[in-house]
């Protein structure tokens, strides 16, 4: 359902399959929470190959973002298709979660959250 690996200064979580929905949202939350608990606090979620996302999965993503911020980490997303990007923009999530076109060379820290 998911796979993860260390990439430069952050961890990547790849969603395997075409859906990021009600069907896998709870498992996704558990999977990412365990990675954060193990000490990897900066993550990029890759949506490569994902065709659909729903509000349940988006809610899970926001819940994980809040947890990552709580442990002084952060979560970004990458490889969104046009529909998914449109949805992020529709609910202004592009102002809350950093969006990369593809996996970045380094995790720059969303929106200067760590500039202080």
């Amino acid at each position: 359902m998911f796979e993860s690996f260390k990439y430069n200064d952050y961890y990547v979580v790849k969603i395997k399959g075409r859906e990021a929905t009600l069907k896998n949202a709870e498992k996704f939350k558990e999977y990412v929470t365990s990675i954060i608990k193990e000490g990897d606090h900066f993550l990029v979620i890759s949506f490569e190959g994902v065709k659909y996302i729903d509000s349940t999965f988006m809610g899970a993503l926001v819940s994980l973002l809040k947890y990552a911020l709580f442990v002084k980490g952060d979560i970004a997303v990458a490889n969104l298709n046009k529909d998914i990007y449109n949805l992020f923009c529709l609910v202004r999530m592009e102002k809350v979660i950093m969006i990369y076109d593809k996996l970045p060379d380094s995790f720059t820290g969303s929106f200067g959250r760590y500039s202080e």
Binding site: R18, E19, T21, L22, K23, Y52, D54, S55, T56, M58, G59, A60, V62, S63, L65, K66, L69, F70, K82, D83, N86, L87, L90, V91, R92, K95, V96, S110, F111, G112, R113
Partner: protein, 202 residues
């Protein structure tokens, strides 16, 4: 005749007899309210809408909005309706796409309100559904059987651990993806009807 429960036939009959406008095309689908049924159904409905929007020269964004709106209406059926099936009705014409979901499950719950029918004395009143630091979603009472959904947005500043950020986006997505979004509860027939309209040509 379609293979669907009796309430669907009553609803369809009602739509055809009372509401359908000249030049409007009607498409209807039965949804089994199971997670596994969402994407196969979406793959049936979207090409029909795509074909329609292509005829009227509309853009990809309209199609994308329709997709998200449908995903959320169907997901709402799975999560909240407590009904065996829903009827999805799409009305298409050159001006708009109207997407409806009907079921005979549980009525929509309005927090801090006694239930349906609503009190007509409260017509026009806005009831809060969710609120966080970035948006608020409201139900406006239109009549004793109907509400419409509205949202307000607030500026998004720097996020930190104290930011109040909601985790419920379903109704917000439908409200923002459409030009109007409403819910009607028919007490006599005990039918829930969610209706979203996307105007074409914008």
């Amino acid at each position: 005749m379609i293979n669907c429960p009796i309430h669907s036939l009553v609803v369809l009959d009602d739509i055809v007899n009372k509401n359908i406008k000249v030049g409007q095309k009607i498409k209807h689908y039965t949804f089994d309210n199971r997670t596994e049924g969402i994407y196969p159904l979406l793959n049936k409905i979207i090409p029909e809408i795509e074909q329609h929007t292509r005829v009227y020269g509309r853009n990809d964004r309209t199609l994308s909005l329709c997709k998200h709106l449908l995903i959320e209406l169907l997901t709402n059926g799975v999560k909240h309706s407590d009904a065996d099936t829903s009827l999805i009705v799409i009305l298409l014409d050159e001006k708009e796409i109207e997407v409806s979901k009907y079921d005979d499950g549980k009525p929509f719950v309005l927090k801090d309100y006694p239930g349906w029918p609503l009190n007509s004395i409260h017509k026009g009143k806005k009831l809060l559904i969710h609120k966080d630091d970035f948006f608020a979603l409201y139900a406006r009472i239109e009549s004793e059987n109907m509400i419409s959904f509205e949202f307000e947005e607030y500026p998004i500043g720097t996020l930190n651990v104290t930011t109040n950020l909601a985790e419920h986006y379903g109704l917000l997505i439908i409200t923002k993806a459409s030009n109007s979004f409403s819910y009607r509860y028919s007490n006599g027939g005990m039918i829930n009807h969610f209706k979203a309209v996307i105007a074409l040509g914008e």
